[in-house]
């Protein structure tokens, strides 16, 4: 702090004072811009939250004021009317099962592509990653016919299998990048010690891959939890509905009772927002991993 100032007392402190002033000014306007941006993000969420406690009359009287009371009337109504207990269980089962399956198979494939030199590795990778470019709407009729042939219609298996499959491209991209970065000496040392390739993979490589696998699980888990397109196709009975579809059909039936619909939307958002708030760092580290080369 003082070494610079001691050398050239007058000029240095003046310059520093000026710089500090300018930094304060720019940070003040910077803070203002950030605050406005955060307001633009939070205001709609706040509107949704307070709206979920309002009755229809209140909505028209004061759309963005506080509700008369925070009694969970709308929540109780939505919980009962919107098939939420069943849909919640289905959403959890489908998301957890497809994320586990998709992450596991991506991990195995990514290791083979990244570390086991074999002919056609690049081609296999290209085939898998190309899945990102095909719109789901186009293949959905063929998938529907296929699921009927397999006798899986009327179960939640079509959702689990499709989500697991659609999650593989992202899984392979993230995990191939990770496995390529692990030093080769690690697996070579294990091989010299007489470990089989399978043991090497399980005992040496896999424990290291926990964080990137978490990344893949988060990346896929978020969109799978929020997706309503595939359930629209495969959840033909109320017992098969997932949360987004339950809310969507609820919206169609109660489109004028905004408070009730908002309560349903809040209920469907709570689990993922809760996990996000608890694991913010993991989420952000997750989506940025592999996107920026060190």
């Amino acid at each position: 702090m003082s070494s610079e100032a001691a050398r050239i007392p007058g000029t240095a402190t003046a310059a520093r004072r000026r710089r500090r002033l300018r930094a304060f000014g720019s940070s003040l306007s910077g803070q203002a811009v950030l605050a406005i941006a955060c307001l633009a993000i939070l205001a709609p969420c706040w509107f949704l939250f307070v709206g979920s406690f309002k009755s229809v009359e209140e909505f028209f009287a004061s759309p963005f004021g506080l509700p008369a009371s925070f009694a969970p009337t709308n929540y109780r109504g939505a919980w009962e009317e919107a098939n939420i207990p069943t849909a919640l269980v289905n959403s959890v089962v489908v998301t957890v099962a497809s994320v586990l399956l998709g992450t596991a198979v991506s991990c195995l494939a990514a290791y083979a592509i990244a570390r086991l030199r074999f002919r056609g590795a690049a081609l296999v990778q290209l085939l898998i990653v190309s899945g990102l470019f095909v719109p789901t709407q186009v293949i959905s009729i063929a998938v529907f016919i296929e699921m009927r042939q397999l006798g899986l219609l009327g179960t939640i298996w079509p959702l689990i299998l499709m989500y697991a499959t659609l999650g593989i491209p992202v899984g392979v991209i993230v995990l191939v990048g990770f496995f390529r970065a692990i030093p080769r000496e690690l697996s070579e040392a294990a091989a010299i010690d007489g470990a089989t390739p399978w043991r090497t993979f399980l005992d040496v490589i896999l424990p290291l891959a926990r964080a990137p696998m978490m990344t893949v699980a988060i990346l896929n888990g978020v969109w799978i939890w929020n997706d309503y397109y595939l359930p629209l196709l495969f959840s033909t009975r109320a017992e098969l509905q997932t949360l987004p579809l339950a809310i969507l059909s609820f919206f169609g039936a109660y489109s004028t009772d905004y408070g009730l619909v908002f309560a349903g939307v809040v209920i469907s958002a709570i689990p993922v927002v809760l996990v996000y708030v608890l694991m913010t760092r993991r989420f952000i580290a997750g989506v940025t991993a592999g996107s920026v080369k060190g």
Binding site: S27, V33, L34, A37, C38, I41, P44, C45, F47, L48, G51, F60, P63, F64, V105, A109, A112, L116, F118, V124, L127, G131, L132, F133, P135, Q137, V138, I139, I141, A142, I145, E146, L161, M162, T165, V172, P197, W198, F201, W225, N226, D227, Y228, Y229, L248, Y258, F262, V265, S268, V273, Y276, T280, F283, I284, V287, T288, S291, V292, K293, G294
Partner: protein, 318 residues
């Protein structure tokens, strides 16, 4: 010496056996992913895409071979071309917004201050919200009867600007773009921020001590390190903009109300394959597939061009 000579051939044999075992091991590892990918992505894709060259309404038996008819129909279909143009608009507007607003926000957060983690958490929040929730919120916010925007305009004396934002042909597409931007900004800002945090602090300090002005530090130190983040953000943006479906569908429905003004390729494909509204001209599944192939081609082209342009830039600066 003699020992080594005898050891060499067995070493070679062992290496070859190891290579064989390694390839078999690789096959086992690939098998589950390949079964799922071939079964539920490649098979239905191939099973759908060949239909583009035939005439099929989606229900009865597949009609005759029609060659490229579905593709030439596409080039003369004004409503589909308009939809494709809307995708281009979405892409261009978000491209500009992303590389200015999102980048700027990332730079503002990339400084040491008490609330930075809170700001970052808030800015990333829209990423975890469902398109369904975002669509509902925006729909109600802009609704003429109970929304926020119209009363707010009235309050500041701009009551003349009030309108039915999602029903007005002049503003509907802009509302859709704004909602998409609101959602997209979350990911873009956070990826830029991660890129900024990869810039070594000493390098910036050194440049500053050497007397470089902030603009110079930005151009010659910070931006080069951001090159990989630029590539990631803009390629992902192409996928986001050209495959847009969920949020648009919730906001303005399968027909892109009003009057197709907000139709995008994703919703056009869906509406052609599964016509629902009374304005649809009857299903043509094979035509929907042709539209889907067109979508894939445009997206692939955009992503490839971005990768080539930004990837080369990446190599040049590092």
């Amino acid at each position: 010496m003699g020992v080594e000579a005898t050891a060499q051939p067995t070493g070679l044999v062992r290496a070859r056996v190891a290579g064989f075992a390694r390839r078999r091991f690789a096959l086992w590892l690939l098998l589950p992913a390949l079964v799922l990918t071939l079964g539920f992505y490649v098979l239905p894709t191939v099973g759908s895409y060949w239909l583009a060259f035939f005439d099929w309404d989606g229900l009865g038996p597949v009609g005759g071979f029609v060659g490229l008819d579905n593709f030439s129909r596409l080039l003369h279909d004004d409503s589909f071309l308009a939809a494709a143009l809307h995708n281009v608009w979405i892409f261009v507007v978000l491209l500009v917004a992303t590389n200015t607003v999102s980048l700027g926000l990332a730079m503002l957060i990339d400084r040491k201050f008490a609330l930075r983690n809170v700001y970052r958490a808030i800015i990333f929040l829209p990423y975890v919200l469902s398109p369904l929730a975002i669509g509902f919120i925006w729909q109600v916010l802009l609704s003429p009867s109970i929304g926020i925007l119209n009363p707010a305009l009235d309050a500041v004396g701009l009551g003349g600007l009030q309108r039915e934002w999602l029903a007005d042909p002049g503003t509907a597409l802009w509302v859709v773009i704004a909602a998409l931007a609101w959602q997209w900004n979350a990911l873009a800002t956070v990826v830029f921020l991660a890129g900024l945090q990869s810039v070594p602090g000493e390098l910036r300090d050194a440049a500053r001590i050497d007397g470089a002005r902030p603009a110079r530090v930005l151009r010659d130190v910070t931006l080069p390190f951001l090159a990989p983040a630029f590539t990631t953000v803009n390629v992902l943006l192409a996928v986001f903009a050209f495959r847009a479906f969920d949020l648009v569908y919730v906001l303005t429905g399968p027909l892109g109300a009003p009057d197709g003004e907000t139709l995008v390729m994703g919703t056009a494909v869906y509406t052609t394959a599964f016509p629902t509204g009374q304005f649809s001209s009857g299903a043509s599944f094979s035509y929907a597939v042709a539209q889907g192939i067109f979508l894939t081609a445009v997206l692939g082209l955009a992503a490839f061009a971005l990768l080539a342009f930004l990837g080369r830039r990446e190599k040049r600066v590092l």
